[in-house]
């Protein structure tokens, strides 16, 4: 064996790396097992089938304390997705408008959009979430005298209520009717309800991420070389046609990867809902961890689920990138 050959060296280093890593992992595992034995903590994922023993404030599927832990985790995941999807849709809309405003021809729009993005980007998201929660919990009127507007909108300490179409089947007919919220016995019943926790998390995440989306859109629009726009104009295309056929297709290639990153960040930031009490995945996992003591398993579940969401998003983005890549030599 030649000691100075590159292949030998490569082999030795990699084998050495594996040995070191294996030794490290082995030592950590030994410590963990010893510690768990000392504290009487059991290990294993079988706790997921045990009764949860706690209620969850809001849930898309029905859940009560008699049901199993795995169902509680599912409720948490659905709540996380609920906040994330709403946030992603809203922040894209707001962020795109603000991003366009930043490069528009109107100085007032440019200035206000600049203030908006700088204000929201330079303050931690946790702080923004807490402030929105304080506003919604302490500065809103009580549920029996809510803010009322636009025909069916109610806003109070109890949250937001909107009219929602529901399918009502009577004796002979079934029809789509509006379920209007109304003040009954000092609280608001009916319609589509959003708790103040959900509102605080969604509002905070949407506004915070929209500032970053605005920057992404701005840099995407500015990345299209001025010469492209001049060529389009000299060919007679008006500003709208230029935007549609020349600027946007090229800008989208620059915008989509960082935009997907921001969507991922929003989803990960939704984990901060634990500070407000919104029952998202991390919050429920925290409760389960405190009740069962199975720290390793609960944290592994959270990390596994978030990792899966990230990998799915990355795969989608890579596929999109390959499809629209500008072909070069």
């Amino acid at each position: 064996m030649r000691w100075h050959s590159r292949r030998t060296r490569a082999l030795l280093v990699q084998v050495g790396l594996v040995v070191v890593l294996a030794a490290l992992v082995g030592w950590l595992l030994a410590n963990t097992l010893a510690n768990m034995r000392a504290r009487g903590i059991q290990s294993g994922f079988d706790f997921l089938l045990d009764t949860a023993g706690f209620d969850i404030g809001e849930s898309l599927i029905d859940f009560d304390s008699e049901q199993a832990y795995w169902r509680a985790f599912l409720v948490g995941l659905l709540n996380t997705l609920r906040v994330s999807v709403t946030g992603i849709v809203l922040c894209t809309l707001i962020g795109t408008l603000v991003g366009i405003g930043r490069v528009s021809g109107n100085a007032l729009a440019r200035g206000l959009c600049y203030v908006y993005t700088e204000l929201l980007r330079n303050v931690p998201i946790l702080l923004q979430l807490l402030m929105w929660y304080v506003l919604l919990i302490e500065w809103m009127p009580e549920a029996d005298t809510p803010l009322h507007g636009l025909g069916g909108l109610y806003l109070s300490k109890g949250g937001l209520s909107l009219p929602w179409p529901t399918w009502e089947s009577g004796a002979w007919t079934s029809a789509l009717v509006w379920d209007m919220p109304a003040v009954v016995d000092g609280e608001i019943r009916g319609g589509l309800n959003f708790s103040p926790e959900f509102l605080a998390v969604t509002l905070g995440l949407t506004l915070y991420t929209s500032a970053f989306v605005a920057e992404v859109v701005r840099s995407g629009l500015q990345s299209v070389a001025r010469g492209q726009i001049e060529a389009a104009r000299s060919l007679g295309l008006n500003p709208w046609l230029t935007l549609r056929h020349v600027v946007l297709p090229q800008a989208m290639r620059v915008i989509v990867p960082p935009m997907t990153n921001q969507y991922l960040n929003l989803t990960k930031n939704s984990s901060l809902a634990v500070a407000i009490g919104y029952p998202d995945l991390v919050n429920i996992s925290n409760t389960a961890l405190n009740q069962t003591g199975r720290a390793v398993e609960c944290i592994a579940i959270i990390m596994g689920i978030y990792l899966m969401l990230s990998l799915l998003t990355s795969a989608f983005m890579n596929a999109y990138n390959r499809r629209v890549a500008i072909r070069e030599r």
Binding site: A10, V13, Q14, L17, V18, L21, L28, N31, T32, A34, N35, M36, A38, S104, G105, N106, A107, L108, A109, L112, E118, L119, R121, N122, V123, P124, I125, L126, L127, L130, M131, V134, L135, E138, W139, K268, N269, S271, L272, V274, A275, V282, N286, L289, A295, V296, I299, I302, M303, Y306, L307, L309, S310, L311
Partner: protein
């Protein structure tokens, strides 16, 4: 110029028109208003909308936050002004608790001096003139001084000041320390991981990619939970690592993954020719990296590193969730426990928002300035 005849260069040179100054109406406020605010129907509409928005909101905010505001630390005056004016009295009453956390009241000059020292070091590190060996020495001394002042002990030896345990450290010094130390420790790790990710050796590359993708795919809160709950289990039975150390390790591992990706971007920008030139001069792998590749790559990504620092600075606010009372946590402690001041939580939040905003905005301005310097070379 007469196009139908052959250009007569001598004639052209003799008839050169002297330059004149631009006419006044080409610039000026009226012209600016016409183009920027009223250029087209859509423009006019937008201007009207924005002006209406400002007129509707701005006077209310100004009167609430400044005109009718209460500045003295008087809880009753604040209550009477509730809804009309902001209660900045909560800040004048509680600012020491917010800024320094649970640190013993009499000794609060120590975190003040320590923080100022760290700030001076940070600002000095941002100035190009200070980039030489002396800076590294200054940093080592500065960090020793910081820990000595804050804890009263250094590496186990007392320095003559009252010892203060780490669970009493809090507020702004803690925020600054966590951000600075985690970036400082993450940096060498990130360089190694970035180099490993681009290595030809499949196993090394696999390990680095796994680490990066694993850490970037999960939220910081789960890493902090892992640090807080799992690290004690991973250590030999009987040892309980300091909570500050655990959190620091968690943030360091987290920021190293993001930093590695940023550095990798800089490494990718180095043209192949540089490596070939270094190889032809007889430089080995590590010499090439140290002398040729890394200096160029790091210069490229200084703005990216700054952005990472700003992100970590903001992310330190999360350690409140694992019971370390940095700036926002200290504020929670100060205001939540006092029923007189609890209704005025919003004003206290706005105070720390201002601190964060000023720091982060200054850092992002600096990062933009650095980026302009780099692209103009």
């Amino acid at each position: 110029m007469s196009p139908s005849s052959t250009p007569d260069c001598a004639h052209a040179a003799a008839a050169l028109v002297p330059p004149r100054s631009a006419p006044n109406h080409a610039r000026g406020l009226r012209q600016w208003i016409r183009t920027e605010l009223l250029g087209s129907p859509m423009n006019v509409g937008v201007t009207l909308l924005m002006t209406a928005l400002l007129v509707w909101q701005l006077p209310g905010w100004v009167s609430w936050s400044m005109v009718n505001a209460v500045v003295q630390p008087d809880a009753d005056a604040c209550q009477t002004a509730r809804g009309l004016g902001a209660c900045w009295g909560v800040v004048s009453e509680k600012y020491r608790l917010i800024l320094f956390g649970r640190y013993p009241f009499a000794e609060q000059w120590r975190p003040l001096v320590a923080t100022l020292g760290l700030l001076v070091l940070l600002v000095a590190s941002c100035m190009r003139q200070c980039w030489h060996r002396g800076l590294v020495v200054a940093w080592i001394l500065g960090l020793c001084g910081f820990f000595g002042l804050m804890g009263g002990r250094l590496l186990g030896f007392s320095v003559g000041l009252t010892p203060v345990s780490t669970d009493q450290w809090g507020g702004f010094p803690l925020t600054l320390m966590l951000s600075t130390l985690s970036i400082a420790c993450a940096f060498p790790l990130a360089v190694l991981v970035a180099l490993g990710r681009r290595s030809d050796w499949p196993l090394v590359r696999a390990v680095c990619i796994t680490y990066i993708e694993l850490v970037r795919g999960v939220p910081l809160i789960s890493v902090l939970f892992m640090a807080s709950f799992m690290f004690p289990l991973l250590m030999p039975p009987g040892t309980t690592p300091d909570v500050l150390l655990r959190v620091l390790a968690g943030i360091t591992l987290f920021s190293a993954a993001y930093l590695a990706e940023i550095i990798r971007g800089g490494l990718q920008a180095i043209p192949r020719g540089q490596l070939e030139a270094a190889a032809s001069l007889g430089l080995g792998y590590w010499a090439t990296q140290r002398l040729v590749v890394l200096p160029q790559a790091l210069a490229h990504v200084v703005p990216g590193i700054m952005n990472n620092f700003i992100a970590i600075f903001k992310d330190t606010s999360l350690v409140t969730i694992v019971s370390l009372y940095e700036l926002s946590g200290a504020m929670g402690l100060a205001v939540n426990g006092d029923p007189n001041w609890r209704p005025f939580k919003l004003e206290a939040y706005l105070f720390i928002t201002l601190i964060y905003f000023v720091c982060c905005f200054a850092m992002s301005r600096y990062s933009l300035w650095v980026e302009r310097q780099v692209t103009h070379r």
